[in-house]
Symmetry: C2
Subunit: 730 residues, 2 copies
């Protein structure tokens, strides 16, 4: 296996359209629907596109549906009469002040004064949605919606009391014209050509698109009659393996065609494609339609090390391929939304796109609808990651509206969790629960696992935070109490002072004193440890080679983050270069689902008992995006939505680093070397804090540097200013 040469910049050269994933700007009419319903519907559509060797392969958990009948209304006060245009997806009525209009329901005259404009829409196949545009009245997120308006009248014609009805603010995205119907949404495409064409001994043709990619194959100028088989490969070996490649297409020309162009019906992931046509079929040309989400890369990172830069670029490309209608796990398979995987994509997103709509859609899609009949994706830890992801989203974005809308669904999922606790208040895997943690040897999953309790505890803390955002004080108190009790129990039962670490589990009433990295690194990351325990965990677990190593990029994400929190960026730099650099050495053009440096040849592509089961483009492989943004550039919010934030640059052994970190209302640009730190924030924040160490007394061009302890300094940052700090790195 020879390493390919990667052209940095070329690899990540992405088509860029208008930023389709941004929300509609305020004051603009946009299509609206019941909040979360569009995500549920679109997720069904996307997740039902998976195939395995031609066979349809859907998810194995409950798929929910949108509400098929929805009432929308808005109370308006018009200074003048308004003429409004209405577009609707579904069968509908329009009421003004409760009275139905008949005749033309597409253009309506609204009289001046105080009125209630209501529409009620039925749509079984797609999401009931409306678009209203007048001079004074527009459809937007301020509309009220409900799935049960309870508007009965009695025999005399008197209207009911409606106080039992819960109204929500409408959901929306960026369908900002009447013609741009939500149900017609498709990702964008652009043609791309193979970089190499090889005729195989069998006569079939192998195309190499130069790098991992995704889209439709186009057969052009086809003549003749017969069956064309297309075998896809993320690796060359996979595309060559007709019997074992994971995905394939079969295009049958039952009647002769002449100079005919055709495109595959569904998208596939591949770098290599084997086209096997019988002699009776001539194909003029083959290329592809690359399909992509036109998200904007606002984050950036570069440094003195070209391998790290290459890794960042490939990671960004990997994340981009896996950022589609939603954040998915991998583009070859499963192409599904997995909570544990999405949780990492969310975090990477905050350092690359800061695309809030994709996070929101993914959160809604994962959670689905009530009733809760199993854990998210059937996996216990994945329910917890979902809670934690809501907390992260709120911290990064400050979007209290989402929290308020989704809080009832948080409550019902937490109720489900709490209904499955044992006498100690712990959650064990019950019948039908998948306990995942990681793909790893020796990692037993029966009983009460310390890892699951830790995530459960964090989920309860998330509930308390979100309850406060929603003004639910009783809920906040209840959840905080439950979290505190569980935390106390977690330490008393699982913390082992002899092992200086959390042990793995209790099973059948007995402690299993095995120590794994998982619980310990998460406890560090989540700030659950005392200063003493923190040191113990770093020494006895994180930096201890006796503790079983982690092989998946999935858990390396958290492991390396924990090392950064332990100020071990130098170790992390080495690990990134060796692990992700190792994949590049093996020819990777995107990062993998799992990587074992020791695996050789085609064996490295095997997983799930199948020779090419492994995904070679997996979102969780892109973690350097997050690590380099959060722990090298050192930027993170310290209050929701970057109202306040910190910048704590760390070179991690690199000579210099520079980059940009986006947030909802601006960007933070950082440069750092051994002698100088430069920071400039643009956009809307209250203040930031630069945190750094210096051997010598640092100097700044602006503001006043404060010393917080020996060699430790801070500088308050304000937006629009370019701060230049001269210092001497330790």
């Amino acid at each position: 296996m020879c390493a390919v040469t990667i052209q940095v910049g070329d690899l990540y050269a992405q088509p860029r359209g208008s930023n389709l994933t941004a929300d509609a700007p305020a004051g603009q009419a946009t299509w609206i629907w019941y909040p979360g319903d569009y995500a549920v519907w679109l997720a069904n559509k996307m997740q039902n596109r998976r195939t395995e060797r031609g066979a349809f392969l859907p998810v194995f958990w409950k798929m929910d549906s949108h509400y098929v009948l929805v009432e929308f209304h808005k109370d308006i006060n018009l200074s003048h009469p308004d003429t409004i245009q209405i577009a609707v997806e579904g069968r509908y009525n329009v009421k003004i002040d409760g009275k139905a209009i008949t005749g033309n329901l597409k253009t309506i005259q609204l009289p001046k004064g105080q009125h209630r404009l209501s529409l009620k829409v039925y749509n079984q196949a797609a999401v009931p949605a409306i678009y209203v545009k007048g001079n004074q009245v527009i459809s937007d997120g301020s509309w009220q919606v409900t799935f049960e308006d309870k508007e009965w009248i009695d025999a005399s014609g008197k209207a009911s009391d409606k106080s039992g009805t819960t109204y929500e603010h409408a959901g929306y995205w960026n369908f900002n014209t009447a013609a741009n119907k939500p149900s017609a949404f498709q990702l964008q495409t652009v043609p791309a050509s193979p970089v190499k064409r090889t005729v195989l001994p069998s006569g079939s043709v192998l195309l190499d698109f130069g790098k991992e990619t995704f889209g439709f194959i186009r057969l052009k100028e086809v003549s003749g009659k017969g069956v064309v088989n297309i075998y896809y490969g993320e690796s060359k070996a996979e595309a060559l393996s007709r019997d074992s490649c994971e995905t394939l297409d079969r295009i049958e020309f039952t009647t002769p065609v002449n100079n005919f162009d055709t495109t595959t019906a569904s998208t596939k992931a591949f770098r290599y494609v084997q086209i096997d046509a019988p002699k009776a079929v001539k194909i003029g040309q083959v290329d592809m339609l690359y399909e992509y989400a036109p998200v904007t890369s606002r984050g950036a990172f570069s440094c003195s090390d070209s391998l790290i830069n290459k890794i960042w670029q490939v990671a960004a490309y990997t994340l981009h391929l896996n950022t589609r209608e939603f954040f998915i796990d991998g583009i070859k398979r499963d192409r599904w939304i997995w909570s544990g995987d999405a949780n990492q994509s969310f975090l990477m997103n905050y350092y690359l796109y800061f695309d809030q709509p994709t996070v929101k859609r993914t959160l809604y899609a994962l959670r689905g609808k009530d009733p809760v009949t199993s854990h998210i994706n059937t996996i216990m830890d994945y329910s917890f990651y979902w809670f934690m992801a809501v907390k992260d989203y709120y911290e990064y974005s400050g979007d209290a509206e989402l929290v308020k809308t989704i809080y009832p669904k948080m409550q019902t999922l937490m109720r489900y969790c709490l209904s499955r606790t044992d006498k100690d208040g712990f959650m064990e895997g019950l019948s039908g629960d998948w306990v995942f943690i990681d793909w790893a040897d020796h990692l037993t999953k029966k009983g009460a696992l310390s890892f699951e309790q830790l995530l459960f505890c964090q989920s309860l803390e998330t509930m308390a935070i979100c309850a406060n955002v929603c003004g639910d004080k009783a809920g906040a108190k209840k959840y905080q109490n439950l979290a505190s009790q569980l935390k106390a129990k977690l330490f008393s039962v699982f913390w082992d002072s002899e092992r200086h670490a959390f042990i793995h589990r209790i099973f059948k009433g007995k402690k299993d004193e095995a120590v794994f990295r998982y619980t310990n690194m998460f406890a560090l990351l989540l700030g659950y440890l005392s200063p003493v325990q923190r040191k113990e965990v770093i020494t006895h677990v994180l930096l201890n080679n006796q503790v079983q190593a982690i092989h998946t990029p999935y858990m390396r994400f958290y492991e390396l983050a924990a090392l950064c929190v332990a100020d071990s960026q130098k170790v992390v730099t080495r690990e990134i270069k060796s692990y992700w650099g190792g994949m590049l050495q093996k020819g990777a053009t995107s990062f993998w689902e799992e990587y074992d440096p020791a695996a050789k040849g085609d064996a490295q592509y095997a997983m799930y008992g199948r020779p090419f089961g492994k995904s070679l483009c997996h979102a969780w492989g892109a973690s350097p995006i997050y690590l380099l943004g959060k722990y090298y550039l050192g930027v993170q919010p310290t209050s929701p939505g970057y109202k306040t934030y910190e910048v704590k640059p760390a070179l991690g052994g690199l000579k210099w680093i520079k980059g940009s970190v986006p947030f909802a209302k601006g960007d933070i640009q950082i440069y750092c070397d051994q002698k100088q730190i430069k920071v400039k924030t643009t956009g809307q924040t209250e203040k930031g804090t630069l945190i750094f160490h210096s051997r010598t007394q640092p100097r700044t061009n602006l503001g006043t540097i404060k010393q917080t302890s020996e060699q430790a300094y801070t500088l308050e940052l304000h937006t629009g200013q370019q701060y230049v700090v001269n210092y001497e790195a330790i």
Copy 2:
């Protein structure tokens, strides 16, 4: 208002096709789906056809959806290989022993031996459904289905434990060929012509179809250009009232047509139709497509009184018009499924069609899906009627399968009810609850109403019965205890020994001692009263004119049933003749939603504050079907599914009665006059009991008559025998 002459037999002359509503016969391949889902989907379709003066008028409660992704499987043991044909509604895969098949998924070879055949289907717009037909393997109700199969595999390819998954038996109806797709279902139609055509002074044309009817209007041989307005009327006055008729159609010929035939897009209810065409539009002919459910009338009744016979015929016609995809309330409006209304249709159905599939569909559609967010139809009493209807269905049909499938949904609805009780365990109308009881003056609905508690108690008893059917002994005990406690409280709080009756309610801690018929007649009907209380209620409430009279056929249903239970059939005969006969006198060709004998002229059509708001064809108007079958022919099951039953004929002042009562597996034919009773049962039962009184010693041609008390006798009945008893009626 002159009385029309009703041709008995003519009025109820119904087109009869194959009995489409019967279930698929055993051993025959049929389309299958997740149980209940087809009803939910079809109900959405049907209930979203209501319009009011052209405006779409959907329901105001939550509409649910089918599961969009469903797994079907069947474990089979084949003596020989089998070739099976597969038809599917939706995108699907096929697995044999867990391994997906590729290629042709319409014809599949199954090897001999023990195998699991699985299909997984996705369909957002319609219900995922499959049809499988081989020599040995067919799709039927024995297949297992689930909406979450939880079939994950770990990294090594090992399959998960699946024990957390709940499988149900598949639902089905009578789509018994591959081509007969469930999503394409439509009721049958047959052309019908108006009996009278009148040109109005305005130039528009008034058509009279001779009786209440339902369907599409067809305009034939239309030429010209312009707008044709169609105004529908259940009464002549309504069709003539362009401004106030409840339903209308507007057909616009935007470009000139020539000799063109067109049909209205949706069905309407009417007897009269006003066709208003401009001069520029010539219409050759107008007729209708009568739309109907091809159910078979198996029950029959006739007697010595021709008015009663006419009433029975019109009632049967009224019920037939309201028996559609589901049992609906009325054909003009609402055309919805209301639990209180359906409960009566179910009971009438047991004495007319004994059509189980329509009952099951209606029960599923009413209940919808979890979570429960409001009472059924938003009405508290309607939740209770639903429970009671399940009990009735089980008693009449003996269908334990339905009870087992629907029991989890009974539990969740009951949990919702129990979560809304007050400190006394009573259910008051909370915010968003509609408390209905009846359309009646002075009937206050705030506070804890004795009527609601009585129905709640019966619902709890139903839960206990169904828990036992499902083998849920703990549940049975719990619900029985709750029922007993509530019953005790009901009597201690609401029974007033001075008034010899249940009083109306407690409001703000105080008793409201008003006495209404409702609680008292239901207590009698449900067997809640001691012999003494029973007599008190009959004397002081039922037969007491001081107690406010009931004006709706809806509550007359129960009132007259209670009078029958009180052996007052003679009173009931008089009431039927005066009340239903009164409607006939007013020109009714089907029975009304509400009837006030005192109302005159067009005022009698007003309701809900609208001049023609009243429905003149309302299912609940058809109660004579039930009363005459159950309390005159006197037939009812005494153990589930007519395993045992009683026949207790009552002449109610008539010279003779005869008729037939259907049950799932047979029919019971009865003739009775003052001197002779004849009974013949065909079909499958264990035994029946004829119960009668005689002044003299009765004689029988078969079996042995037993005397049970003075002048009271019984005779055991066996199937296939014609019993002739000579006696002398008291």
